[in-house]
Symmetry: C2
Subunit: 392 residues, 2 copies
């Protein structure tokens, strides 16, 4: 196990109806003038925004609002949010939504006290200061409610890049699984795929002697394999939603990846897909991640056997471990297909002829990834090609 720091100071407020307490938590964490930052009209129509406003009003907290966050949230709205916070004297940002709203809120939070262009942070500059943020989560997926990370897309050139800092961790995150019950099956499955991918990025490591984090990774993965088909079959299953929502936080607040090298190439390779086609990140991951696995599994066949047997219930073939490793990958892809995810370019709406452009953009200003297997441009081309033609 490598040396590490682990710091997850967010207060998680979990369960039915907890969003009606958001005003109390804003107050507890020192907010007096709030920006409510959210996405589309569904938060309004469902009455969620109404309950949030009511709770803020009840606690004597004034607020302004900025909606319109899109999936793959854009820099353009971040600039608007920074201006609004400055002109209105906002001292606390409350994200209401999923990963996109939270990531956009984090970018605004970092941008407000910074004199330069906030995009500097998404080009590698470290973030030292940010407004405090809070979260009312509406989809289990990105894990941004428990992480210090944020991913923003620069509209000019559709460059999708990430930034991270402990100062971006939310003060509190309210997780009410019932809020996710209205999500369409497709979005639910995209979220589940993202959660599993967050774990796999950490699971495939070259660090040895990491039993505790391996087992914690597997705990989350096994939970997702069990619970996801239940919510796809029955969207109103609160208990399955609850397990997934908490698993989504655990998958990405850092806990399951401490003290070990991590990979994260699948995320980078996917980001180019969602940036180019504006597809859902989870759907892109469903196409990329098993393809990445097929490309790299020979690097450590036994680790893939471990995944196959512990997560996907394969019998170990001791005479031919490679067949077990491949069977695990096959079961992962088949699982993704069973929950309604695309598994190749055609199903995603991506085009094989775009591969050279995707590979080229992958190389622009990206931070180093590939803690499990370092990849060349040719390797990435190969992975896109496997993904283009993948089948069950």
């Amino acid at each position: 196990m490598d040396n590490f720091n682990f710091y997850s100071p967010t207060e998680f407020v979990f369960g039915k109806d907890r969003e009606s307490e958001c005003g109390e938590y804003v107050k507890k964490y020192g907010g007096s003038k709030v920006l409510i930052h959210y996405g589309g009209g569904s938060a309004e129509r469902s009455g969620l925004l109404g309950r949030v406003r009511e709770s803020l009003n009840k606690n004597g907290i004034s607020f302004v609002e900025l909606g319109g966050v899109k999936p793959n949230p854009r820099d353009t709205l971040v600039y608007k949010g920074i201006d609004l916070c400055r002109s209105e004297g906002v001292d606390f940002i409350l994200a209401v939504g999923g990963g996109s709203s939270i990531d956009s809120a984090k970018a605004i939070a970092a941008g407000v006290p910074y004199d330069g262009d906030f995009w500097d942070f998404y080009s590698g500059k470290s973030i030292e200061k940010a407004l405090p943020i809070g979260v009312v989560l509406t989809i289990a997926a990105a894990g941004s409610e428990g992480s210090g990370d944020s991913v923003i897309t620069k509209e000019d050139g559709m460059l999708k890049r990430g930034a991270g800092s402990d100062v971006l961790r939310s003060k509190f995150s309210i997780l009410n699984p019932a809020l996710t019950q209205t999500l369409p099956a497709y979005q639910t499955a995209c979220g589940a795929t993202d959660i599993m991918a967050h774990v796999f990025e950490r699971y495939f490591t070259n660090t040895t002697e990491v039993e505790i984090t391996d087992r914690l990774c597997e705990a989350v993965l096994i939970t997702m394999v069990k619970e996801t088909p239940r919510v796809i079959a029955d969207p109103d299953n609160y208990d399955a939603r609850a397990n997934i929502m908490w698993a989504g936080m655990v998958a990405h607040n850092g806990l399951v990846g401490v003290g070990r090298s991590q990979d994260w190439n699948s995320h980078g390779i996917e980001h180019e897909l969602s940036a180019l086609y504006d597809c859902a990140h989870g759907a892109g991951l469903a196409v990329i991640m098993p393809s990445w696995m097929e490309f790299v599994y020979k690097h450590n066949v036994m680790r893939f056997c471990q995944m196959a047997t512990r997560v996907f219930g394969c019998q170990m073939n001791f005479e031919n471990p490679e067949s077990t490793a491949l069977e695990g990958i096959r079961r992962f892809r088949s699982f993704l297909h069973s929950i309604g995810m695309p598994i190749n370019f055609a199903e995603l709406g991506a085009k094989e002829e775009d591969i050279p452009a995707l590979v080229e953009k992958f190389g622009i200003g990206r931070r180093r990834t590939g803690g499990f297997v370092a990849l060349s441009a040719d390797d990435i081309t190969e992975i896109y090609k496997i993904a283009a033609k993948a089948s069950l």
Copy 2:
């Protein structure tokens, strides 16, 4: 899953040589005058206290010291610590040691800003305010480095009672597994038993639909079953020590027990043993916990089958689930014996004729426990009797 809050704001600083950074972390969290609180002379002899002082000096932080914390830490030293902090204007307490030093530091931290007798907090009064504390951990066991809990023994009558509050959570906890390499095998095994018991107290629940926390519990337990025999066989095995040390934190910072009823009767029943005989808490748990399991397993045979198969690798007997449940308990006790733990009164140094007195004291001013199975005085008598005569 039940509604819950989860809040673990401690910054964990994990790995080799990290104790030499303690001055930086005291500074980061606002300490300027520190009480170093520790146990016996081993921290001095090993050079650990010297490294702590050096790091504080390097960061311009002044300090006073109070050693002498005993296992099952006493109220008498807590009073002394409170007086010292007040007279010296201490604003930060740094515990150097294991659960006893940390628990004693927490009691002092709560007592300093409180006008009344700190024992009020251990009699049920809630703690609203405390001095900030930091930790340099030297034994993986109590999990106090990541929890808001503290257990103190009132010397007058040897009454062992607990208190808890989020304000008692340490600002930072430094966990260097190498510091645990000098521990005797017996203490190492006591710690491992305590860690497993912390998980089992949460694992045995009446709350259904808790897949994610079940799996996280099992992740910690499986890790302990694998890693503990390795450190007993080879005390210098850093990697196994590291896995155990981190598992010990995860076992008790709250994560594996959120959203579910918990039991905690085994801890209460054991506390009377360590209060009366001043034995190690872990050793007492090794005697009590499997005996408690034998007494309660019929309450939910399938949950014990789950433990047996997932944690101890039993084959499920589908024709006779009860035999699987019992086999799991048998393997747990056998595991404890294999790592050198006592499994009955004689091996612990306890006496069967004291059972009535133990049962009587269990009833004095204790908070309600038994979220899995509520126990009467007769039930507790029965469990002590099973424990008295237990064998492999």
